[in-house]
């Protein structure tokens, strides 16, 4: 069963078709990959799914609900969340605050209750803080919780961004080049982390990345994109042996 379904998805910027007629389903409960050469439209697809860009044509269905062109905050409220290629943390806030902010949707006390600090507000605040603490513990960031996010080492910033995404209790997690700029060691750690959190939080995951060892290592289904169009789709073995994919990445054999 597919948790997310893109139907005939198209995005044009003026005369340029960044994504053209893409049909793709993200299966529930596994890790899928989205790969393709630079400028193929991978991040554009993420931006379309999360509502950052408006769709030109086509449909996006999440759990059979149409989420096409909804506001980003509504889409994340439905259970889709993402990380960014160029990390977007709340840079000047602490690690703890970053996660605590993202926990906000776990509470529903209103403004009046916060102004008067009513019991429901206090109780839920306690729960939110507990949740933030738990997440930092799981992600191994607990000992750095009072550091300013921007002062974290690069690999941990990525980790924090994933922790922040998890605070929303997502069902679908989109990771945009999570291993960008990481050395092989850090990449290996990241692979374990992603494979660990997927069952723990009952997630479906879609990853964009250029590290083929990462994508081929943990993804069960892969889609290849080239010049905004779908080139191939299948298991890692299928993709690796697909002549069209090899051509797009390496050029035609001489």
């Amino acid at each position: 069963m597919n948790i997310l379904e893109m139907k005939n998805l198209t995005k044009c910027f003026g005369g340029l078709t960044a994504v053209g007629n893409v049909d793709f389903g993200v299966p529930k409960g596994i890790i899928s990959g989205l790969i393709g050469p630079n400028g193929a439209g991978k991040t554009t697809i993420f931006n379309l799914i999360t509502g950052v860009y408006k769709v030109t044509d086509g449909k996006i269905l999440f759990k059979d609900n149409d989420i096409t062109n909804k506001e980003p905050y509504l889409i994340s409220g439905q259970g889709i969340t993402r990380t960014f290629q160029n990390i977007r943390l709340f840079k000047k806030l602490t690690v703890y605050e970053n996660v605590l902010i993202a926990c906000h949707s776990n509470g529903n006390y209103n403004l009046l209750e916060s102004v008067l600090r009513l019991p429901r507000c206090r109780k839920q605040e306690k729960q939110l803080k507990q949740k933030a603490d738990d997440l930092l513990e799981i992600m191994g960031l607990k000992d750095r919780k009072d550091l300013i996010a921007n002062n974290l080492p690069y690999g941990l910033q990525r980790r924090l961004e994933i922790a922040r995404a998890l605070a929303l209790n997502p069902e679908l997690l989109l990771l945009d080049e999570p291993a960008a700029g990481m050395n092989p060691d850090e990449t290996a750690q990241l692979m374990t982390l992603i494979s660990d959190i997927r069952p723990k939080f009952d997630l479906s995951v879609l990853i964009i990345d250029h590290h083929m060892d990462l994508v081929m290592g943990i993804c069960e289904k892969i889609m290849v994109l080239n010049f905004g169009c779908k080139l191939a789709e299948g298991t890692p073995q299928d993709i690796q042996n697909n002549p069209k994919v090899i051509e797009a990445y390496l050029g035609v054999e001489g």
Partner: protein, 300 residues
């Protein structure tokens, strides 16, 4: 200097502080600059004066009515302009503030440009103090709730806030409305302190003064705003003996502070019982190997 004079200055500082607190929420915590807050003060001032003078309302309900009117007006302005990014929103508020002043200049019901004398003198030291304390508590409670954190998130990174499910527009609007309500109360306090209202009192200079106080005190710090309002309102009075030079010194001192401490007096730090305790223990041990980011407290 007699007590009466000092009390007068403190009341002026308190009135300023009231609208500075509101602006602090908008600028310091939500990251939007406004140069139209004098406009909201004017709305609050004229509305509450109308209530006490023409309808004989008691003081506090009249103040609240002024706050409500200012908040509703801000909601209207916000709906139209909050989608504008950064500088554009700032210009829109500037236009709004001036528009309010010019409208009031021409409404004869309120005395037009000549002003409106004979407003009862209800504002006194006690009620300014109490209202300010309540305002600070409310603001502090908002800041440490999830709504306040969402506003801070909007200030830090709008796109990321959207992605973590924060309705950016909504929180900007809430912040603007609360901020306008504070300014409205400040306007009401001012009307019943001066016992006279004139559109000229709410010019761009007033809005700028408020923004200067917020930045001077430090963005993202309530105690900074309190300190800023106290210092910058009383400074021209303290310097009165320098007569013509006092405004130059005022300007210079603002420039000096901004150069030496660009993040403002308090820059993101709060003066709370727990932070004071931390500071004292550090001063006692004198070794204080705290990370660089904590150095803000040293200037206290």
């Amino acid at each position: 200097m007699d007590l009466y004079y000092i009390q007068g200055i403190l009341m002026l500082a308190g009135i300023n502080l009231m609208s500075v607190l509101g602006l602090s929420l908008l600028t310091g915590f939500t990251g939007m600059f406004s140069f139209g807050h004098a406009g909201f003060m004017a709305i609050g001032g004229y509305t509450s004066a109308m209530m006490t003078v023409n309808y004989g309302w008691p003081f506090i309900p009249a103040l609240l009515m002024g706050a409500l009117t200012a908040a509703l007006m801000s909601a209207l302005i916000g709906k139209l302009t909050l989608n504008l990014k950064g500088d554009y929103f700032c210009i829109a508020t500037l236009g709004f503030g001036e528009a309010i002043r010019l409208v009031l200049d021409n409404v004869q019901y309120f005395g037009g440009a000549r002003g409106w004398p004979g407003i009862p003198n209800y504002t006194n030291f006690t009620n300014v103090l109490i209202i300010n304390i309540i305002a600070i508590i409310i603001l502090a409670n908002i800041i440490r709730s999830r709504q306040g954190r969402n506003m801070i998130a909007v200030r830090e990174e709008e796109l990321a806030s959207q992605i973590v499910g924060i309705n950016v527009f909504k929180y900007k609007l809430i912040s603007l409305m609360i901020s306008a309500a504070y300014a409205g109360i400040a306007g009401g306090l001012m009307a019943h302190y001066m016992t006279f209202l004139q559109p000229k009192m709410f010019s761009l200079v007033k809005s700028t003064e408020l923004t200067i106080i917020v930045i001077f005190g430090g963005l993202g710090s309530i105690s900074g705003s309190v300190l800023g309002a106290l210092v910058l309102t009383s400074l021209p009075e303290i310097l009165r003996s320098f007569s013509n030079w006092r405004l130059v010194i005022y300007g210079l001192s603002v420039i000096v502070i901004m150069i030496s401490r660009p993040e403002g007096l308090m820059g993101g730090y709060e003066l709370t019982p727990s932070s004071m305790k931390k500071l004292f223990t550090r001063m006692r041990s004198k070794k204080g190997n705290l990370p660089k980011s904590m150095e803000g407290g040293d200037t206290l």
